[in-house]
């Protein structure tokens, strides 16, 4: 039995070069993009190239829903060139719609993030991943300001992020580990305090949220900042060895990115 995240991840690759979301499934863009990054895997990149839509996007699910959220990660996984450029163009051109005010779930109506699915609300994780990739590969586009504004608007009291809303019906929502890690990756270059609050949240809550995906993304976010938590890394490695993260490809890929050379890929130069 493999005990290293990258080794376990490699065993999940399908014959078509892509990676499934869980062992035995069919290949999909998000796990394939993350695995391509984690393993620097050319077959996975080829799978992505063959599944890019003519509009530059990467879709999972039915056209009626149009989940295009893998597109930023696919752009990051692709080699520099036309395909990557078209994927980045897609990200720039496909933000979530702005919503009007609603006192029940207050938010800044001027912000505009990215949704999981086309034409729906912009949530923390897809917004943060688009922000990360644009900062890495299109650092001069004005959409970066949009993404930063979303992360500021959705920040929970005291720092970090819930999955999307910070307040509903006057009740403050708590930050979650996995979404805070995603958010931290997107704001790793910011010096206005939002980054440090997110780091503090992760350091405070990770022992209480023992899950493979949350730990892997938290570890990756801290490594991207070059501020790893050695206890978290040790616990993550032990969890991989013990459970192989239950064959969750996305979690394994983030663990491999966190603990391997691919961390450079998600590190924003500061």
């Amino acid at each position: 039995m493999s005990t290293d995240a990258a080794q376990v991840l490699a065993t999940l690759q399908n014959g078509d070069g892509g990676f499934p979301p869980s062992a035995g499934g069919t290949s999909e863009p998000e796990p394939t993009a993350l695995a391509a990054i984690a393993l620097d895997n050319s077959a996975a990149r080829s799978w992505l190239e063959s599944h890019q839509r003519s509009d530059g996007g990467f879709i999972v699910g039915p056209d009626s829903v149009l989940n295009d959220s893998p597109t930023p990660l696919a752009a990051l996984a692709l080699a520099p060139g036309d395909r990557r450029d078209r994927a980045l163009d897609y990200v720039v051109q496909h933000q979530a719609p702005q919503l009007g005010p609603d006192d029940r779930i207050p938010h800044d109506v001027n912000t505009r993030g990215w949704g999981w699915t086309s034409r729906t609300f912009g949530w923390v994780e897809p917004s943060a991943r688009a922000l990360l990739v644009l900062k890495l590969l299109r650092p001069n586009v004005q959409q970066i300001a949009d993404g930063n504004a979303v992360m500021t608007d959705r920040e929970c009291q005291g720092g970090g992020w819930n999955y999307g809303n910070k307040e509903v019906f006057g009740t403050q929502y708590e930050p979650f580990l996995q979404t805070t890690a995603a958010g931290l990756m997107g704001v790793q270059d910011r010096t206005d305090g939002i980054r440090e609050r997110a780091v503090a949240v992760i350091q405070r809550i990770w022992p209480n949220e023992p899950g493979g995906l949350g730990w892997a993304m938290a570890s990756a976010a801290l490594h991207a900042l070059e501020r790893p938590d050695v206890d978290l890394d040790a616990e993550l490695a032990a969890l991989v060895a013990q459970t192989q993260l239950y064959g969750d490809t996305v979690a394994l890929a983030w663990a491999a990115i966190a603990l391997g050379p691919a961390i450079q890929t998600i590190r924003i130069t500061r």
Binding site: G61, T120, G211
Partner: protein
Amino acid sequence: MNPLFGRRLSRRRFLIRAAEVGLATGAVGLGIGAILERIPRSPWDPKAFPPPGRAKVAVLKASSYNGDLEGMVLEGLQAVGVGAEVRGASVLLKPNMVEFDPSSVINTDPRLVAATVAAMKRLGARAVTVGEGPGHRRDTQYVVQQSGLRDLLRDVQTPFVDLNSAALTRVSLRSSWTQLGELWLPTPVVEADVVVSMPKMKTHHWGGVTLSLKNMFGVVPGRIYGWPKNVLHWAGLQESILDVAGAVKPHIAIVDGIVGMQGDGPIKGTSIQAGHLVIGTDPVAVDATAAYLMGVDPTRVTYLADAARFLGQGDLGKITQVGEDPTRSVTDFKLRPEFEGLRLGATGGSHVADPAHAAGG
């Protein structure tokens, strides 16, 4: 006898419900007549949904999770005639594990889930699996681990499947309350011989109550529909409940009403000792009975009233309750102010339109 028992949902009452839905979805500026013209008379395939017949629901008194839950579940299942359909069948239990908070009662209690696994095995199930696709937490394994479900499932040697990452099967909808047309659903759900919806008895700040029908949101995979499953809110919460439950009509519903959640459910409410399990093979009848036990008039809950038109029996007068007498078992759950109109004996409408950035819950 409460007047609800024996009362039918009249056509006038249905039209009021339909108008509420139309108004809530933004048909501003139209008259009621025009709105009604726009509402399909039967947004479902009548061949797929025969008219609901009489139903039987077991209401069992259960004061804690420490008693003989397995025996109680078995008693309830047998009381409503469950037996032959489980023997030799593959059974998928779908509890509500939308997210986890150690200080709250969000989830179906894992002890009840494990007890139901054991009961299904005693009834001769060939295979039992527990599955959930949390709507608010992408890290499913964290929810399963911290809730205690993983350890209990290990004890009863039963696998857990993450419905957010499982293989998918394309399913054409047999109803058209939304414009979705189809859903991509987890293959373990689609292929199970028997699907058991196991909700927590909770209030819901967009829908009024969340029970076995709303619990089926958890089978809609997050990796397609996002976290939370925001597509379903854009398509309309009430309408999505109907289409999802119509696509995966649970064969059995077991409501964890031992300890429920009141007030700002399904996440931020407070616990309430309700002291009952509600079990049946008609999820609409089970939900109608459970809502009644919460002090809520099921005919005033928009999606339940509509579900009673095609998906199951919502007329309490046509539901035979075995076990406890529901009229003597009501525990009034606190409701958000906008849902006070749902109370037994209340007057007026109580439809609340969920905002487009509402969460799955």
